[in-house]
Symmetry: C2
Subunit: 231 residues, 2 copies
């Protein structure tokens, strides 16, 4: 019997592989912001021809991770301080709306459970022996929570936009790192949002999300302060 989860259900196309790899390398910083991607170079590096690479780069450009370099390659975009401000302004708007919709339409029991999960994450994150796995688990929890909100909000346009934004948020997060203090605060904020949704309290869901995004932005502002980001 095959181990199903490890057996790729589909032998991913070359374009898809090229896209996934370039994307993850940009997100985790293996390809630094400002680097120039040349089609031939990437094609040989990734072991595919130029065609899939072109397609992959096209998608990255559409996502805003890369921008056309005027004929000569495509350069990996950077995340400026101004971008972070704009990004979070937009996030506040969308995530708050999504939370509100989730409170209106979502399956309450799901969010009761999430509230509990977030609450029980707090002591773990606060503990001084906080290790990477715990942090990764916490990000996984957030990911599942976001997913649940996507489902509950039941608005494909909204979901698409939020997913697009999350890509950029991931870059910001990685640039800024995280502190145990911020993580515990985050968990408490999420717990409140989840409770609000679970209780069908649309206004509280909206406002708690707004507060959460605001605090998150404030954290990043402080993290970036003084390390001289380009405008």
């Amino acid at each position: 019997m095959y181990t199903l989860s490890l057996m790729p259900s589909k032998p991913l196309s070359a374009s898809a592989r090229a896209y996934e790899q370039l994307r993850s390398e940009i997100l985790d910083g293996s390809i630094a912001a400002g680097s120039t991607l040349y089609e031939v170079e990437q094609a040989s590096r990734l072991g595919v021809s130029r065609t899939p690479v072109r397609e992959a780069i096209g998608r990255l450009v559409a996502q805003g991770l890369v921008e056309p370099g005027g004929g000569r390659g495509s350069v990996v975009t950077d995340v400026s301080d101004q971008d972070v401000e704009s990004l979070f302004e937009m996030r506040a708007c969308l995530e708050a709306q999504a939370a509100q919709l989730a409170a209106l339409r979502g399956k309450r029991s799901v969010f009761v459970d999430f509230a509990e999960e977030f609450r029980s994450a707090v002591p773990v994150l606060r503990s001084p022996s906080l290790d990477k796995d715990a942090v990764r688990d916490y990000y996984g929890l957030i990911r599942r929570f976001d997913e649940a909100i996507n489902v509950a909000a039941a608005n494909p346009y909204l979901v698409d936009a939020m997913e697009g934004l999350r890509t950029h948020v991931a870059r910001v997060r990685r640039k800024a790192g995280s502190s145990p203090e911020r993580l515990t605060a985050s968990a408490l904020e999420h717990a409140l949002i989840a409770s609000a949704i679970a209780g069908g309290d649309t206004a509280l869901a909206l406002h708690a999300t707004h507060v959460h995004i605001h605090n998150s932005l404030e954290h990043f502002r402080q993290a970036f302060a003084g390390l001289g980001n380009p405008a």
Copy 2:
């Protein structure tokens, strides 16, 4: 001396031409929703090779105008009643936010002028001898207004998202048609929004936009009612 506006500054690439043409044909209905686009077929029709067509279709898929047909061609998406609801829910959120930001950051004189323009459009649109040119002019005015809000909101993520949405709104608009009543109401609503922005009244800009989108949706709901749209 060249007539600058008619002189294409750049000899648009084949991909770009393919994209523009397919896009406009989908938007104006020349290519009906539900049609299947085959790469070879479109390539020969548009007089280019498959490569630019692939790229064009890729972009259309990313925009949601077309969806992959499981290996065999890509089908032009339709706009269901549910899509319209989701679309306007999202629009309300984004455009309201944009109007609020414009009220906060925009150059007031610009919006004073727009308010005046919208007010003076009312009698024209109300007139019984309303012709197509007047309607087109009015849509042009809206377009310029949207553009001004884009600039004033000064948030690239927000602008991108709204532009993406407007593509779909254009399809809805064309499907529903317009009535003189709705157009005059629309002009008045826009005038109010413009005034609110001009006056720096963020709350009013937000709420007036919300109301406007709501009324617009209501109009489309009525237009679609009874003509049996697919879910």
